[in-house]
């Protein structure tokens, strides 16, 4: 197949992700696979290229959460079809991140957008979910050995939990094994510093840059 036609299909995949064309993505993915485009190329040059545009538009308030969630769902539909064709070590090369919303807090929208952008940037992300007690964060750090632990807290009433988790990691002798970052509406840099976190990010786009920085150190 000609390079030009391959590029055309990949561009269509990117566009489907940007526009959230969830009813069209399966057929497009099937066509890309059928025409022999390498699975990693479908992901990197098609889907993730689209998702990068989504991330930028979200950062510029040109897209909002419902549109971004639909783009992510569209991309995931395609990724699920491609996954069986992938080699084990193709994904998650940039590093591993464990992430969760702290105990007593149910907010997952911001966290999920951070996850999506991290995966777009090549990180393997282990999502613990919402309402995560300190023991569960510690167990994940012990077993999954992530480069970075991310905690989300969206309430002035739950933000103190970040500090408790970090103290618990210290108590369990796990703090030295992992970089810790925190985020969420009521938090700021000085709160993160007081908590003993290694970093704070104002929004999802900044969070990805922070993870890259933390992993590099």
């Amino acid at each position: 197949m000609g390079k030009a036609l391959q590029m055309e299909i990949l561009d269509q995949l990117a566009d489907a992700v940007i526009e959230g064309k969830i009813t069209e993505i399966e057929a497009l993915t099937q066509e890309a696979i059928g025409r022999g485009i390498a699975p990693m190329d479908i992901i990197n040059l098609g889907l993730l290229k689209g998702m990068t545009v989504v991330g930028k538009r979200f950062g510029a308030s040109e897209m909002f959460i419902p549109e971004v969630l639909l783009s992510a769902k569209t991309m995931n539909t395609s990724v699920e079809m491609i996954k069986p064709l992938l080699l084990g070590d193709d994904l998650g090369k940039a590093g591993t991140v464990v992430i969760g919303t702290v105990k007593g807090d149910l907010h997952d929208v911001g966290k999920n957008i951070v996850i999506m952008l991290l995966e777009t940037a090549g990180f393997e992300v282990i999502d613990l979910g919402i309402d995560i007690p300190q023991e569960e964060f510690a167990q994940a750090v012990r077993e999954k050995k992530p480069d970075v632990l991310g905690m989300s807290a969206m309430l002035t009433t739950t933000m103190m939990e970040c500090k408790k988790v970090i103290e618990f990691l210290e108590k369990e002798n796990l703090r030295g094994n992992v970089k810790v970052m925190v985020g969420g509406a009521p938090l700021n840099q000085s709160f993160a510093t007081q908590c003993g976190a290694d970093g704070y990010a104002e929004d999802a786009v900044e969070a990805v840059e922070l993870v890259k920085k933390l992993v590099a150190h």
Partner: protein, 349 residues
Amino acid sequence: MGSTQKLTSRERVFEAIAHREPDRVPIVLGSRELAIRYSGNTFGSIWADGRKYVEAQAMLIEQYHLDVAYDIWCTPAMDEALGAHLELPEDDAPWVPKPLLKDKKDIKKINAKIDPLKDGRMPFLLDVIKGLRARLGHDVPISAWMSPPFRTACMLRGSSDLYLDMMLDPTFVKELLDLVIEPCIVYGKALADAGADIINISNPVANADCIKYAHYKEFSHPYTKRMFGEIKAHKDVKVTFHTCGNWNDRFDLVTEENVDILHVDKVDLAELKKNFGSKITIMGNVRTVDTLLQGTPEQVVAEAKASIDKAAKGGGFFLSGDCTVPLDTPPENVRALVETGLTYGVYNH
């Protein structure tokens, strides 16, 4: 300088809402957490005995000169009344661990005919409002919280799922909103009947950080407007809308939702006053985390003065934080805000 404390809190607050200058700016803080912490209680002890919360609010009003008492707001009481399990942590705000509508089909199972005098925590919350009225008398206005239809739908369904529904199945979202608006109105009327003078809402899932203007206009605006219209037709209450997060592109819609008071987050009060100050009362906006929780009394005074300078002229202003005041806020910072309101906030007549 005029003399202070010529008016009762009720007179002061309602003069301000009428866009007349009272004796001084009303001082209004989202004070559930402060009341619980400063009185040595926990959420657990309050849930066990609502009279302790009443006493805690009375203590705050008397010792800190706050002009409005707040109920124990518990917006997820609506989820509970509709069938969800409500968690009541010992020292934290109540919450619902599992959204009721994980599956869209479950909408058929919801019985929207709630009875606020019987269902879940609602009768307890209403009793506390009655207790506040009995303890504080007529002179102190009471503010009570509830949840607007869009937020209620988000809580029942889970925000991420509801956002996706807006993209993929807007008919379902409308069906859910039409279902939840009725119990919202019923609870709002019950708050007014119990003695609330001001009804509060926030809608943090509907701001410009989350959804686009067109979605707000379609899925949130008309429902909030109708809800408050019906509650106000039932009883003469005022309405506070706490605009949590970024609302800059949609204040035009919010101010058309039968709202009297905008309790604003990070907004330039001077600009807001210029654009909407003639039709709405502005409440704000000393930063609660950066300044009240983490800052010094001097920083609190500076921010409180700035808020007064920008928005107090001509009335239509309450001095406040930019959100609910967090549990561990130092008393000296709260006193610094109050002291600024009592002195710098005096109107010269």
